[in-house]
Protein backbone atom coordinates (compact mmCIF):
# COMPACT_ATOMS: atom_id res chain seq x y z
CA UNK A 1 0.00 0.00 0.00
CA UNK A 2 1.19 3.55 -0.57
CA UNK A 3 0.72 6.10 2.15
CA UNK A 4 0.33 9.75 1.28
CA UNK A 5 0.73 11.94 4.31
CA UNK A 6 0.51 15.15 2.28
CA UNK A 7 -3.25 14.76 2.69
CA UNK A 8 -2.73 15.38 6.40
CA UNK A 9 -0.87 18.62 5.74
CA UNK A 10 -3.66 19.88 3.53
CA UNK A 11 -6.28 19.02 6.16
CA UNK A 12 -4.51 20.79 9.03
CA UNK A 13 -6.58 24.04 9.01
CA UNK A 14 -9.85 22.07 9.02
CA UNK A 15 -8.63 19.71 11.74
CA UNK A 16 -7.37 22.63 13.83
CA UNK A 17 -10.88 24.07 13.92
CA UNK A 18 -12.15 20.72 15.14
CA UNK A 19 -9.43 20.56 17.79
CA UNK A 20 -10.42 24.03 19.01
CA UNK A 21 -13.99 22.80 19.48
CA UNK A 22 -12.75 19.74 21.40
CA UNK A 23 -10.80 22.01 23.74
CA UNK A 24 -13.76 24.37 24.11
CA UNK A 25 -16.09 21.50 25.03
CA UNK A 26 -13.54 20.15 27.52
CA UNK A 27 -13.06 23.55 29.18
CA UNK A 28 -16.77 24.33 29.44
CA UNK A 29 -17.64 20.85 30.69
CA UNK A 30 -14.85 21.02 33.24
CA UNK A 31 -15.83 24.45 34.56
CA UNK A 32 -19.56 23.71 34.64
CA UNK A 33 -19.05 20.17 35.90
CA UNK A 34 -16.80 21.34 38.73
CA UNK A 35 -19.27 24.04 39.82
CA UNK A 36 -22.29 21.72 39.88
CA UNK A 37 -20.14 18.89 41.22
CA UNK A 38 -19.06 21.05 44.16
CA UNK A 39 -22.69 21.78 45.04
CA UNK A 40 -23.57 18.07 44.78
CA UNK A 41 -20.59 17.07 46.92
CA UNK A 42 -21.39 19.62 49.64
CA UNK A 43 -25.03 18.49 49.70
CA UNK A 44 -23.99 14.85 50.01
CA UNK A 45 -21.63 15.64 52.88
CA UNK A 46 -24.18 17.80 54.67
CA UNK A 47 -26.67 16.59 57.27
CA UNK A 48 -29.63 17.35 54.99
CA UNK A 49 -30.58 13.71 54.40
CA UNK A 50 -33.33 13.98 51.76
CA UNK A 51 -31.32 16.33 49.52
CA UNK A 52 -28.31 14.06 50.02
CA UNK A 53 -30.29 11.10 48.69
CA UNK A 54 -31.39 13.05 45.62
CA UNK A 55 -27.79 14.13 44.95
CA UNK A 56 -26.60 10.53 45.37
CA UNK A 57 -29.25 9.28 42.93
CA UNK A 58 -28.15 11.93 40.43
CA UNK A 59 -24.48 10.99 40.72
CA UNK A 60 -24.99 7.22 40.64
CA UNK A 61 -27.55 7.45 37.85
CA UNK A 62 -25.30 9.43 35.53
CA UNK A 63 -22.34 7.22 36.36
CA UNK A 64 -24.23 4.06 35.42
CA UNK A 65 -25.28 4.99 31.87
CA UNK A 66 -23.17 5.43 28.74
CA UNK A 67 -22.20 8.96 27.71
CA UNK A 68 -23.46 8.22 24.18
CA UNK A 69 -26.93 7.60 25.57
CA UNK A 70 -26.73 10.82 27.61
CA UNK A 71 -25.75 12.74 24.48
CA UNK A 72 -28.75 11.29 22.61
CA UNK A 73 -31.07 12.07 25.54
CA UNK A 74 -30.15 15.74 25.58
CA UNK A 75 -29.99 16.02 21.80
CA UNK A 76 -33.71 15.22 21.68
CA UNK A 77 -34.75 16.50 25.11
CA UNK A 78 -33.31 20.03 25.17
CA UNK A 79 -35.16 21.40 22.09
CA UNK A 80 -38.39 19.94 23.42
CA UNK A 81 -37.91 21.27 26.94
CA UNK A 82 -37.04 24.76 25.68
CA UNK A 83 -39.73 24.74 23.01
CA UNK A 84 -37.38 25.86 20.21
CA UNK A 85 -34.61 24.19 18.20
CA UNK A 86 -31.11 24.40 19.63
CA UNK A 87 -27.78 23.66 17.96
CA UNK A 88 -26.03 20.35 18.43
CA UNK A 89 -23.27 22.27 20.23
CA UNK A 90 -25.65 23.69 22.83
CA UNK A 91 -27.25 20.33 23.57
CA UNK A 92 -23.80 18.69 23.74
CA UNK A 93 -22.57 21.33 26.19
CA UNK A 94 -25.57 20.76 28.47
CA UNK A 95 -25.11 16.98 28.28
CA UNK A 96 -21.39 17.15 29.05
CA UNK A 97 -21.74 19.63 31.93
CA UNK A 98 -24.46 17.58 33.65
CA UNK A 99 -22.65 14.29 32.96
CA UNK A 100 -19.25 15.51 34.17
CA UNK A 101 -20.84 17.04 37.29
CA UNK A 102 -21.52 13.50 38.49
CA UNK A 103 -17.85 12.50 38.08
CA UNK A 104 -16.40 15.73 39.47
CA UNK A 105 -18.70 15.57 42.49
CA UNK A 106 -17.16 12.21 43.44
CA UNK A 107 -13.65 13.63 43.09
CA UNK A 108 -14.54 16.70 45.15
CA UNK A 109 -16.30 14.61 47.77
CA UNK A 110 -13.17 12.48 48.21
CA UNK A 111 -11.07 15.67 48.30
CA UNK A 112 -13.24 17.28 50.98
CA UNK A 113 -13.22 14.07 53.00
CA UNK A 114 -9.41 13.98 52.81
CA UNK A 115 -9.16 17.12 54.96
CA UNK A 116 -8.90 16.13 58.61
CA UNK A 117 -11.92 16.62 60.88
CA UNK A 118 -9.82 18.73 63.24
CA UNK A 119 -9.74 21.46 60.59
CA UNK A 120 -13.53 21.74 60.68
CA UNK A 121 -13.54 21.75 64.45
CA UNK A 122 -10.77 24.34 64.72
CA UNK A 123 -12.51 26.61 62.19
CA UNK A 124 -15.79 26.32 64.01
CA UNK A 125 -14.05 27.03 67.34
CA UNK A 126 -12.53 30.17 65.81
CA UNK A 127 -16.05 31.39 65.08
CA UNK A 128 -16.12 30.76 61.31
CA UNK A 129 -19.47 29.90 59.71
CA UNK A 130 -20.09 26.85 57.51
CA UNK A 131 -19.55 28.64 54.18
CA UNK A 132 -16.51 30.49 55.52
CA UNK A 133 -14.98 27.26 56.79
CA UNK A 134 -15.56 25.61 53.44
CA UNK A 135 -14.21 28.52 51.40
CA UNK A 136 -11.27 29.61 53.54
CA UNK A 137 -10.12 26.45 55.32
CA UNK A 138 -11.35 23.25 53.71
CA UNK A 139 -11.45 23.93 49.96
CA UNK A 140 -7.90 25.34 49.65
CA UNK A 141 -6.54 22.17 51.24
CA UNK A 142 -8.95 19.82 49.46
CA UNK A 143 -8.16 21.41 46.10
CA UNK A 144 -4.46 20.64 46.49
CA UNK A 145 -5.24 17.02 47.30
CA UNK A 146 -7.59 16.51 44.39
CA UNK A 147 -5.75 18.43 41.68
CA UNK A 148 -3.99 15.37 40.16
CA UNK A 149 -7.25 13.41 39.98
CA UNK A 150 -9.02 16.40 38.46
CA UNK A 151 -6.39 16.58 35.73
CA UNK A 152 -6.71 12.83 35.06
CA UNK A 153 -10.46 13.31 34.78
CA UNK A 154 -9.89 16.20 32.35
CA UNK A 155 -7.80 13.86 30.17
CA UNK A 156 -10.64 11.31 30.17
CA UNK A 157 -13.11 14.12 29.43
CA UNK A 158 -11.02 15.35 26.52
CA UNK A 159 -11.10 11.85 25.04
CA UNK A 160 -14.82 11.59 25.71
CA UNK A 161 -15.57 14.75 23.75
CA UNK A 162 -14.87 12.61 20.66
CA UNK A 163 -18.29 11.04 21.25
CA UNK A 164 -20.04 14.12 19.85
CA UNK A 165 -19.32 12.25 16.61
CA UNK A 166 -22.71 10.54 17.11
CA UNK A 167 -24.53 13.87 16.71
CA UNK A 168 -22.19 15.02 13.89
CA UNK A 169 -20.78 17.93 15.86
CA UNK A 170 -17.45 18.91 14.28
CA UNK A 171 -14.91 18.32 17.00
CA UNK A 172 -11.44 16.94 16.20
CA UNK A 173 -12.67 13.33 15.87
CA UNK A 174 -15.61 14.19 13.61
CA UNK A 175 -13.45 16.50 11.47
CA UNK A 176 -10.87 13.75 11.08
CA UNK A 177 -13.56 11.33 10.01
CA UNK A 178 -14.98 13.83 7.50
CA UNK A 179 -11.58 14.42 5.89
CA UNK A 180 -10.72 10.70 5.97
CA UNK A 181 -13.86 9.76 4.10
CA UNK A 182 -13.84 12.74 1.73
CA UNK A 183 -10.27 12.13 0.56
CA UNK A 184 -10.56 8.36 1.02
CA UNK A 185 -7.40 8.44 3.15
CA UNK A 186 -8.61 6.69 6.30
CA UNK A 187 -5.25 5.17 7.25
CA UNK A 188 -3.24 8.38 7.16
CA UNK A 189 -5.86 10.61 8.80
CA UNK A 190 -6.86 8.23 11.58
CA UNK A 191 -3.24 7.45 12.46
CA UNK A 192 -2.46 11.17 12.53
CA UNK A 193 -5.52 11.85 14.72
CA UNK A 194 -4.43 9.08 17.09
CA UNK A 195 -0.97 10.66 17.33
CA UNK A 196 -2.45 14.06 18.17
CA UNK A 197 -4.72 12.63 20.87
CA UNK A 198 -1.82 10.57 22.21
CA UNK A 199 0.51 13.56 22.54
CA UNK A 200 -2.11 15.78 24.20
CA UNK A 201 -3.40 13.12 26.59
CA UNK A 202 0.04 11.77 27.55
CA UNK A 203 1.12 15.29 28.40
CA UNK A 204 -1.96 15.69 30.60
CA UNK A 205 -1.47 12.30 32.26
CA UNK A 206 2.23 13.04 32.80
CA UNK A 207 1.53 16.37 34.49
CA UNK A 208 -1.05 14.70 36.74
CA UNK A 209 1.50 12.10 37.84
CA UNK A 210 4.19 14.74 38.44
CA UNK A 211 1.74 16.71 40.60
CA UNK A 212 0.68 13.70 42.62
CA UNK A 213 4.32 12.70 43.20
CA UNK A 214 5.06 16.22 44.43
CA UNK A 215 2.08 15.98 46.78
CA UNK A 216 3.12 12.63 48.19
CA UNK A 217 6.57 14.02 49.08
CA UNK A 218 5.07 16.94 50.96
Amino acid sequence: MNLDFSVVARAIPFLAEGLALSFLLTAVAMAGGTAIGLVLAVIRLSTWRSAGLVAAAYVNGFRAIPLVLVIFWFYFLVPLALGHPVSALQSAIIAFVLFEAAYYSEIIRAGLASVRVGQWQAASASGLGYIQTLRLIILPQALRNMLPVMISQAVILFQDTSLVYVISLRDFMTSASIVANRDNRLVEIYLFAALVYFVICSTGAWSASVLSRKRSLA
Partner: protein, 238 residues
Protein backbone atom coordinates in the same frame (compact mmCIF):
# COMPACT_ATOMS: atom_id res chain seq x y z
CA UNK B 1 -42.96 20.44 27.50
CA UNK B 2 -45.10 19.40 24.57
CA UNK B 3 -44.71 15.67 24.12
CA UNK B 4 -47.31 12.92 23.87
CA UNK B 5 -45.99 10.08 25.99
CA UNK B 6 -46.99 6.64 24.81
CA UNK B 7 -45.40 3.90 26.84
CA UNK B 8 -47.33 1.21 24.96
CA UNK B 9 -44.76 1.57 22.20
CA UNK B 10 -42.32 -0.34 24.36
CA UNK B 11 -44.60 -3.37 24.57
CA UNK B 12 -45.32 -3.43 20.85
CA UNK B 13 -43.77 -5.79 18.37
CA UNK B 14 -41.16 -5.42 16.94
CA UNK B 15 -39.90 -2.63 19.22
CA UNK B 16 -39.76 -4.69 22.40
CA UNK B 17 -37.87 -7.38 20.51
CA UNK B 18 -35.38 -4.79 19.23
CA UNK B 19 -34.65 -3.53 22.72
CA UNK B 20 -34.24 -7.05 24.11
CA UNK B 21 -31.90 -8.08 21.31
CA UNK B 22 -29.99 -4.84 21.90
CA UNK B 23 -29.55 -5.70 25.56
CA UNK B 24 -28.36 -9.18 24.61
CA UNK B 25 -25.83 -7.67 22.21
CA UNK B 26 -24.61 -5.25 24.90
CA UNK B 27 -24.12 -8.14 27.34
CA UNK B 28 -22.39 -10.28 24.69
CA UNK B 29 -19.94 -7.51 23.71
CA UNK B 30 -19.22 -6.48 27.30
CA UNK B 31 -18.69 -9.93 28.75
CA UNK B 32 -16.53 -11.13 25.84
CA UNK B 33 -14.46 -7.94 25.93
CA UNK B 34 -14.11 -8.26 29.71
CA UNK B 35 -12.63 -11.78 29.37
CA UNK B 36 -10.06 -10.46 26.90
CA UNK B 37 -9.32 -7.48 29.15
CA UNK B 38 -8.80 -9.65 32.26
CA UNK B 39 -6.42 -12.10 30.57
CA UNK B 40 -4.46 -9.53 28.56
CA UNK B 41 -4.47 -6.97 31.38
CA UNK B 42 -3.30 -9.61 33.88
CA UNK B 43 -0.39 -10.62 31.64
CA UNK B 44 0.66 -7.04 30.88
CA UNK B 45 0.28 -6.04 34.53
CA UNK B 46 2.55 -8.89 35.70
CA UNK B 47 5.13 -8.27 32.94
CA UNK B 48 5.31 -4.61 34.00
CA UNK B 49 6.36 -5.69 37.51
CA UNK B 50 9.14 -8.06 36.45
CA UNK B 51 12.75 -6.94 36.97
CA UNK B 52 13.56 -6.17 33.33
CA UNK B 53 13.76 -2.65 31.96
CA UNK B 54 12.88 -3.77 28.43
CA UNK B 55 9.65 -5.33 29.66
CA UNK B 56 8.88 -2.26 31.76
CA UNK B 57 9.38 0.03 28.77
CA UNK B 58 7.29 -2.16 26.46
CA UNK B 59 4.40 -2.52 28.91
CA UNK B 60 4.36 1.16 29.78
CA UNK B 61 4.22 2.00 26.06
CA UNK B 62 1.34 -0.48 25.65
CA UNK B 63 -0.54 1.02 28.59
CA UNK B 64 -0.08 4.65 27.60
CA UNK B 65 -0.88 4.00 23.92
CA UNK B 66 -4.22 2.39 24.72
CA UNK B 67 -5.07 4.83 27.52
CA UNK B 68 -4.31 8.06 25.71
CA UNK B 69 -6.28 7.60 22.49
CA UNK B 70 -10.10 7.83 22.61
CA UNK B 71 -11.90 4.50 22.42
CA UNK B 72 -13.94 5.71 19.45
CA UNK B 73 -10.77 6.37 17.45
CA UNK B 74 -9.27 3.04 18.52
CA UNK B 75 -12.43 1.34 17.28
CA UNK B 76 -12.12 3.07 13.90
CA UNK B 77 -8.45 2.16 13.68
CA UNK B 78 -9.18 -1.53 14.33
CA UNK B 79 -12.02 -1.44 11.83
CA UNK B 80 -10.72 0.75 9.00
CA UNK B 81 -6.95 0.99 9.38
CA UNK B 82 -5.69 -2.38 10.64
CA UNK B 83 -6.98 -4.41 7.64
CA UNK B 84 -5.12 -1.97 5.35
CA UNK B 85 -1.73 -2.04 7.05
CA UNK B 86 -1.57 -5.80 7.65
CA UNK B 87 -0.04 -8.07 4.97
CA UNK B 88 -2.41 -8.13 1.98
CA UNK B 89 -3.63 -11.71 2.51
CA UNK B 90 -4.57 -11.05 6.14
CA UNK B 91 -6.28 -7.79 5.23
CA UNK B 92 -8.34 -9.60 2.61
CA UNK B 93 -9.32 -12.26 5.11
CA UNK B 94 -10.37 -9.61 7.65
CA UNK B 95 -12.41 -7.75 5.07
CA UNK B 96 -14.02 -10.70 3.28
CA UNK B 97 -14.08 -13.83 5.40
CA UNK B 98 -14.22 -12.72 9.02
CA UNK B 99 -17.72 -13.57 10.29
CA UNK B 100 -19.63 -10.68 11.97
CA UNK B 101 -16.76 -8.21 11.41
CA UNK B 102 -18.41 -5.30 13.26
CA UNK B 103 -19.16 -7.39 16.33
CA UNK B 104 -15.75 -9.10 16.45
CA UNK B 105 -13.94 -5.79 15.94
CA UNK B 106 -15.93 -4.10 18.73
CA UNK B 107 -15.17 -6.90 21.15
CA UNK B 108 -11.47 -6.88 20.30
CA UNK B 109 -11.16 -3.08 20.45
CA UNK B 110 -13.04 -2.79 23.73
CA UNK B 111 -11.13 -5.74 25.21
CA UNK B 112 -7.69 -4.36 24.35
CA UNK B 113 -8.68 -0.81 25.42
CA UNK B 114 -9.86 -2.09 28.82
CA UNK B 115 -6.85 -4.41 29.22
CA UNK B 116 -4.60 -1.34 29.56
CA UNK B 117 -6.71 -0.17 32.51
CA UNK B 118 -6.80 -3.65 34.05
CA UNK B 119 -3.00 -3.89 33.67
CA UNK B 120 -2.55 -0.72 35.74
CA UNK B 121 -4.80 -2.14 38.48
CA UNK B 122 -3.05 -5.53 38.49
CA UNK B 123 0.37 -3.86 38.63
CA UNK B 124 -0.67 -1.70 41.59
CA UNK B 125 -2.17 -4.79 43.26
CA UNK B 126 1.08 -6.74 42.87
CA UNK B 127 3.01 -3.75 44.23
CA UNK B 128 0.62 -3.56 47.20
CA UNK B 129 1.36 -7.10 48.40
CA UNK B 130 3.76 -6.76 51.35
CA UNK B 131 7.43 -7.26 50.32
CA UNK B 132 7.91 -9.99 52.91
CA UNK B 133 5.57 -12.25 50.94
CA UNK B 134 7.84 -12.17 47.89
CA UNK B 135 10.95 -12.65 50.01
CA UNK B 136 9.44 -15.54 51.93
CA UNK B 137 8.35 -17.20 48.67
CA UNK B 138 11.84 -16.73 47.24
CA UNK B 139 13.41 -18.11 50.41
CA UNK B 140 11.14 -21.17 50.21
CA UNK B 141 12.76 -21.98 46.86
CA UNK B 142 9.88 -20.97 44.55
CA UNK B 143 10.63 -19.81 41.03
CA UNK B 144 9.20 -16.64 39.45
CA UNK B 145 6.15 -18.44 37.99
CA UNK B 146 5.35 -20.01 41.35
CA UNK B 147 5.86 -16.76 43.26
CA UNK B 148 3.39 -14.98 41.01
CA UNK B 149 0.94 -17.84 40.50
CA UNK B 150 0.77 -19.06 44.10
CA UNK B 151 1.65 -16.09 46.29
CA UNK B 152 1.46 -12.65 44.69
CA UNK B 153 -1.40 -12.82 42.17
CA UNK B 154 -3.97 -14.49 44.45
CA UNK B 155 -3.47 -11.62 46.90
CA UNK B 156 -3.11 -8.91 44.25
CA UNK B 157 -6.42 -9.79 42.60
CA UNK B 158 -8.20 -9.63 45.95
CA UNK B 159 -6.67 -6.22 46.67
CA UNK B 160 -7.77 -4.79 43.31
CA UNK B 161 -11.27 -6.26 43.21
CA UNK B 162 -12.98 -2.97 44.20
CA UNK B 163 -11.23 -0.86 41.51
CA UNK B 164 -11.76 -3.68 38.99
CA UNK B 165 -15.49 -3.41 39.69
CA UNK B 166 -15.42 0.10 38.33
CA UNK B 167 -13.61 -1.02 35.15
CA UNK B 168 -16.12 -3.86 34.78
CA UNK B 169 -18.99 -1.34 35.04
CA UNK B 170 -17.29 0.95 32.54
CA UNK B 171 -17.06 -1.78 29.91
CA UNK B 172 -20.87 -2.05 29.72
CA UNK B 173 -21.11 1.69 29.16
CA UNK B 174 -18.29 1.73 26.62
CA UNK B 175 -19.91 -1.09 24.65
CA UNK B 176 -22.39 1.54 23.41
CA UNK B 177 -19.66 2.87 21.11
CA UNK B 178 -20.05 -0.25 18.97
CA UNK B 179 -23.05 1.50 17.42
CA UNK B 180 -20.66 3.76 15.50
CA UNK B 181 -19.51 0.85 13.34
CA UNK B 182 -23.00 -0.60 12.96
CA UNK B 183 -23.52 -3.03 15.84
CA UNK B 184 -27.12 -2.92 17.05
CA UNK B 185 -26.57 -2.95 20.77
CA UNK B 186 -28.92 -1.41 23.34
CA UNK B 187 -28.31 2.29 22.65
CA UNK B 188 -28.46 1.77 18.87
CA UNK B 189 -31.73 -0.12 19.18
CA UNK B 190 -33.31 2.60 21.32
CA UNK B 191 -32.13 5.11 18.72
CA UNK B 192 -33.77 2.96 16.04
CA UNK B 193 -37.07 2.83 17.95
CA UNK B 194 -36.87 6.64 18.06
CA UNK B 195 -36.49 6.95 14.31
CA UNK B 196 -39.32 4.50 13.55
CA UNK B 197 -41.90 5.70 16.09
CA UNK B 198 -40.79 9.21 17.13
CA UNK B 199 -41.20 7.93 20.68
CA UNK B 200 -37.54 8.27 21.52
CA UNK B 201 -37.91 9.19 25.18
CA UNK B 202 -39.78 6.00 26.02
CA UNK B 203 -37.08 3.98 24.29
CA UNK B 204 -34.27 5.97 25.93
CA UNK B 205 -35.94 5.53 29.32
CA UNK B 206 -36.13 1.78 28.80
CA UNK B 207 -32.46 1.68 27.78
CA UNK B 208 -31.49 3.84 30.76
CA UNK B 209 -33.23 1.51 33.17
CA UNK B 210 -31.65 -1.51 31.50
CA UNK B 211 -28.18 0.02 32.00
CA UNK B 212 -29.01 0.88 35.63
CA UNK B 213 -30.17 -2.69 36.21
CA UNK B 214 -27.00 -4.13 34.68
CA UNK B 215 -24.88 -1.78 36.82
CA UNK B 216 -26.75 -2.82 39.97
CA UNK B 217 -26.36 -6.52 39.18
CA UNK B 218 -22.66 -6.19 38.39
CA UNK B 219 -22.05 -4.26 41.63
CA UNK B 220 -23.94 -6.89 43.62
CA UNK B 221 -22.04 -9.72 41.93
CA UNK B 222 -18.67 -8.10 42.63
CA UNK B 223 -19.56 -7.47 46.29
CA UNK B 224 -20.46 -11.15 46.66
CA UNK B 225 -17.23 -12.11 44.92
CA UNK B 226 -15.25 -9.85 47.28
CA UNK B 227 -16.91 -11.45 50.30
CA UNK B 228 -16.50 -15.00 48.93
CA UNK B 229 -12.82 -14.58 48.17
CA UNK B 230 -11.82 -12.56 51.26
CA UNK B 231 -9.04 -14.22 53.27
CA UNK B 232 -8.99 -14.63 57.05
CA UNK B 233 -5.74 -12.60 57.04
CA UNK B 234 -7.77 -9.57 56.01
CA UNK B 235 -6.65 -9.41 52.37
CA UNK B 236 -9.65 -8.50 50.26
CA UNK B 237 -13.03 -7.39 51.56
CA UNK B 238 -13.65 -7.00 55.28
Amino acid sequence: MNYAWDWSVLAQSPYLGWLISGLEMTLLISLSAWSIALVLGGVVGVLSQLPSWQLRAATSLYISAFRNVPLLLQLFIWFFVVPEILPTAWGHWLKRDLPFPELVTSILALGVFTSARVAVQVASGVAAVPKGQRMAALASGMNIAQIYGLVLLPQAFRIVLPPLTSDFLTIFKNSALALTIGVFELTAQSRQVESYTFHGFEAFTAATFAYLLVAALVTLFMRLLERQTALPSGVGAA
